[in-house]
Amino acid sequence: MAALYAQLLVGLINGSFYALLSLGLAVIFGMLNIINFAHGALYMMGAFCAYFLLNLTGLGYWWALLIAPIIVGIFGMILERTMLQWLAGLDHLYGLLLTFGIALIVQGVFQNYFGSSGLPYAIPDELKGATNLGFMFLPIYRGWVVIFSLVVCLATWFLIEKTRLGAYLRAATENPTLVRAFGINVPRMITLTYGLGVGLAALAGVLSAPINQVRPLMGADLIIVVFAVVVIGGMGSIMGSIITGFALGVIEGLTKYFYPEASNTVVFVLMVLVLLVKPTGLTGRAT
């Protein structure tokens, strides 16, 4: 039984990454209608950013949590301004192909310079060590990841669903012309939203740097699962993607315990089942 609790907790930790990443995807899809396949590459850039901040400028983990999302977010906004904005109103396929291409280029460039085995990044001193919970040995850093990502997820949900700014944003997706008529700069808002989604990916990257190796392919390995999470949760649903992210982390963790061979397919089996029963995803509304 103790082992089961431990697996549930480990699942929750992985779920935090799924939730943070799928949240960014949901924000971008919900507000911009772009299927952002570059998300994994941007997550990887966040981790590399943390590595560079530490090794080139000496700025540690806590600064990286703040600065990396801003730097990568700016990179994202440049992408949106220079390329993605021209695809507004076109079929989803164009955005998907463009962002997928960007992901391949970014990963290729990083791989060319840093190889595939990755770079080391240590856990910050303040979060080193572990506590004994009785049923398991919990590294303090992992506990921090769960709490921090939960806070970030809820804050993002609050921002978009409950504030005036969020209301403008949602209105702008419904009817951009009308919102513009009220004197709101819609294109700038869209750019900032893309930056926010991208920043969330980079934040997940920084969080993951001390756990996983900082590798050019770290995002590519994860992004497909995250897309499945978004599809299961319902495309564009903010709360849906947060809950599904955590839930699927737990389900995957249990699979690793009971039948490890299936642990990297279970998410997709679930996706198929959900799509068969409810094609809009668990929380999605039919349009």
Binding site: A6, I13, G115, L119, N212, Y257, E261
Partner: protein, 406 residues
């Protein structure tokens, strides 16, 4: 009846043409370096293996003697079907004579079968599975550098003898992991050790904590990591995080490359025991090669034993071609010649190729240095013991290779 006679004649004629083509010797050689060029094994093989092949061509001195030798590279993406397709195209269209490297045992076994069918030469140094020179051996395949038997009998035996008599495996869920777990289990049990359990993790898993917790709960003294590349580095890093080594269990990284140690950093990797057959800082010969390699390598990485194997096996291949007086474009004939000649190169020392295609040479048990012991980048290993060639590889009387039953 008429039809079948006609087809028989046609068949005979075609095979005569084929035989005629095969017997024509020339001085043209084409080398295909087939590897994982961008995935989790790209640093231990990949572009570095292509470089090693080019260096072997330059050092052979054959080009100056009028030979025309080309090296091409391909990406198998760790998928057997992709690997076989690339290899098939190389044989049919590009007229490749020899395929080198090929990490990933699943891909290597598939390519080995194709090379036999096409009568090419397969010099494998990237894959681990000892099946390449056992049940699935062919007259066209030579296995260099290491195999799962070496790893099992190096690291597995050493740790069991040192008191680690209970094991739990975290195994990569494909041909290599299965072979490594099987061979290590045999080595551990032969010394009276016990295997308490194991878990099969999918290839390219990013989070190993679930599996490590199961290993921790098993209370085994040794956690055997039967995986490779980024899977191994992630396991080691996360094991440190979950306090596995602090609580008395010991990690056995059954396959660890110098690029993995470099990527982990000495703080995490220190104290690990593992087996390799090549390390750059062993002697003057290994140092000289490594220095030239490092200058030209991307990221200025030191060569792994896989890349060293590509170089050494090609050097031996060229010697055999020279002895034959040209390239007969007949894989089985060249491999037979290679088996006749003793191997001797600066990287692996003197050795020989056994009838089942296994190259034997000494192997080394290393320990990763403490950060305070390391003099600088890439100074990572301490030599613990040298395993003589006849103990490092499957003894011939235990090999299940069908070629031996004549």
């Amino acid at each position: 009846m008429k039809k079948s006679i006609a087809s028989l004649l046609l068949g005979t004629a075609l095979s005569l043409i084929a035989a005629g083509a095969a017997s024509a010797q020339d001085k043209v050689v084409k080398i295909g370096s087939l590897s994982d060029q961008s995935g989790l094994y790209a640093d231990l093989g990949g572009p570095g293996s292509t470089l090693a092949a080019q260096m072997a061509v330059e050092d052979s001195g054959l080009v100056a003697k009028g030979w025309k030798i080309d090296v091409i590279a391909g990406d198998h993406q760790n998928k057997p079907d992709v690997g076989v397709n690339v290899a098939r195209q190389w044989f049919d269209i590009d007229k490749v004579d020899v395929i080198v490297d090929v990490p990933n045992s699943g891909v290597a076994l598939a390519v080995s079968n194709l090379v036999k069918e096409k009568n090419g030469v397969f010099l494998n140094s990237g894959a681990g599975t000892s099946d390449l020179t056992n049940a699935q051996c062919t007259p066209n395949t030579i296995h260099w550098s290491y195999d799962t038997y070496t790893l099992a009998h190096g690291t597995g035996t050493a740790l069991t003898k040192a008191g680690g008599d209970t094991w739990f495996f975290v195994t990569a869920d494909y041909a290599f992991g299965a072979a490594l777990e099987r061979d290590t289990t045999a080595a551990v049990q032969s010394l009276g050790g016990k295997v308490l359990g194991g878990v099969k993790a999918p290839l390219s898993t990013s989070d190993f904590s679930s599996f490590l917790l199961q290993a921790q709960a098993s209370k085994a003294k040794i956690i055997g990591l039967a995986n490779a590349g980024a899977d191994t580095t992630n396991s080691i890093k996360q094991a440190a995080e979950f306090g596995i080594t602090q609580s008395g269990q010991k990690l056995a990284a059954l396959l660890l490359f110098i690029t993995d140690v470099h990527s982990l950093g000495l703080n995490v990797a220190k104290g690990l025991n593992f087996t390799e057959t090549y390390y750059w800082d062993l002697n003057d010969g290994t140092r000289a090669f490594a220095k030239r390699f490092q200058e030209r390598a991307k990221n200025h990485a030191m060569p792994t034993m896989v890349q060293a194997g590509v170089y050494a096996s090609l050097i031996h291949y060229f010697k055999a071609l020279e002895a034959l007086g040209g390239n007969p474009h007949d894989g089985a004939k060249v491999v037979a010649k290679m088996k006749e000649m003793p191997t001797d190169d600066a990287l692996f020392g003197k050795g020989e190729i056994e009838p089942n295609g296994r190259t034997i040479h000494p192997a080394y048990l290393f320990e990763v240095k403490q950060p305070s012991e390391s003099k600088g980048p890439w100074d990572y290993y301490k030599l613990v013991a040298t395993i003589p060639a006849n103990e490092a590889f499957t003894p011939l009387d235990k090999s299940t290779c069908p070629l031996l039953k004549k």
